[in-house]
Symmetry: D2
Subunit: 149 residues, 4 copies
């Protein structure tokens, strides 16, 4: 998959966050959130990060015939969440290339009278591909602008 001339973006205070509540569906028989489900939470936060930039993915797919697909995930699990826990999931663009971007994400446990605790953190590389052929495509300029903005 192409990764030409990526632009490393400066860190910023402008980290997007999205709340996620833990329901029965998210937990497993160990009493904790099943590890794959954090990838769902990360995807929800990315979707809302895009929506906050005016990008609705179903509309985008209809307009361009292209979709975002994940090409790479690295995630470290530090602590566990449990039923009824309230999380905050972050999304912070760390690199933007011609046909992909990389986003840094964390899931934080939010509790009363306590500092947020990082449950897991990772980075997700997302490619922009043709829906039919699965071939990488060049991210359109206005979508590039939206991702940066």
């Amino acid at each position: 998959m192409l990764r030409m001339r990526p632009t490393t973006l400066p860190p910023s205070d402008n980290v997007f966050t999205w709340p996620v509540r833990i329901y029965w569906e998210d937990t497993d028989a160990g009493g904790i959130v099943f590890y794959a489900n954090y990838l769902k939470f990360f995807e929800r936060a990315r979707t809302e990060w895009l929506r906050a930039k005016g990008v609705e993915q179903r509309q985008l797919q209809q307009d361009t015939g292209c979709i975002f697909v994940v090409s790479d995930v690295q995630i470290k699990y530090l602590r566990s969440a449990r039923l009824d826990d309230q999380l905050l999931v972050t999304a912070h663009l760390s690199e933007l290339g011609r046909s992909s971007f990389t986003i840094h994400q964390e899931a934080l446990l939010i509790a009363k009278d306590a500092a947020p605790v990082v449950l897991c953190k990772g980075s997700v590389r997302v490619g922009w591909i043709h829906g039919q052929t699965s071939k990488p495509a060049r991210i359109p300029p206005d979508l590039q602008q939206a991702l940066k903005g």
Copy 2:
């Protein structure tokens, strides 16, 4: 949704069964299988029941532009399954109409040196619709034959 002249089929010994193993992903913090997941198991067994009749759904969608969708579910939960349990899921056609069919399904716990135990049982009505318009369609004659056979 249409349900014209349904044909009630006679019960038979010819009940299709499909094995399902319980993994961490299927369980919840109660230590048991999350209730919605039995609908996944039922769907797997219906898919394999169709496949055993020569019906591959992705191919079918490409050939006809139509898909099967569930229109009605009734399910009773009697006992719980747990991690590592081995189940058998049944599928038995109980009614076949012009644009839908109803299938009776059960999930059974299989254990060594014990009779199978019914964990849940229900019936699922499945309609045949146009993929784009979501309008009911008439099930083609050869597909009707396959479902009956």
Copy 3:
């Protein structure tokens, strides 16, 4: 499972609602929400309905050793939701017994400049059981009060 002397409750305008957004995780290759996932949405709304009454299920399990489990589901699917759709899920107690209750639930599609559309509706019977033995238990008086209130 016991169902002694159920009290049929009068309908009321006081229907609880909970918003659900449709993400990639909820959809399937038919382009619509996978049928089992509505049971997740229903469960989220029931959990929030309980939370609004002051009932936190993890705490409740620690305090009583008992949990709520679904014993019966009936659901009719009328229309499909798609990626990015915004739903509202309702929860309305329809019957309260000594060791179980029945709740009526709907998922509605909310769109700009349009009346809400019912996507699916059903009823869910929930039993109160001992976590270890899975035997039905009598719902404690204060929990009964909370459910009614």
Copy 4:
């Protein structure tokens, strides 16, 4: 989390494989398998890899009070699977420490008259922890032997 004196194991032909069929539940509205679901497939293969060594995790939890939890995942997605596809998922121990192990895993697409195609590949680090305290524990000698064998 501890990672003392890990033993790097030699590669071998003895790679465990487990078949996974793609059902509706696994796909998303892009027509492909949702990225988080490969972590489910990897977990199924690890569970069966353990079972093939005589390790049943529910029994193990009851006997020791400890459970395996994932602490680290790296995964590269190369190609997509679709409805009805038949996959083979591999599991190959690459490192074994005192309280954790690392396993290399791949998902391969199996098609008639074609060589297997790698869909995604990654490595998963799994820790052994106390179920109640979530603190790392030393993997018992006989379990160490089973993992190596």
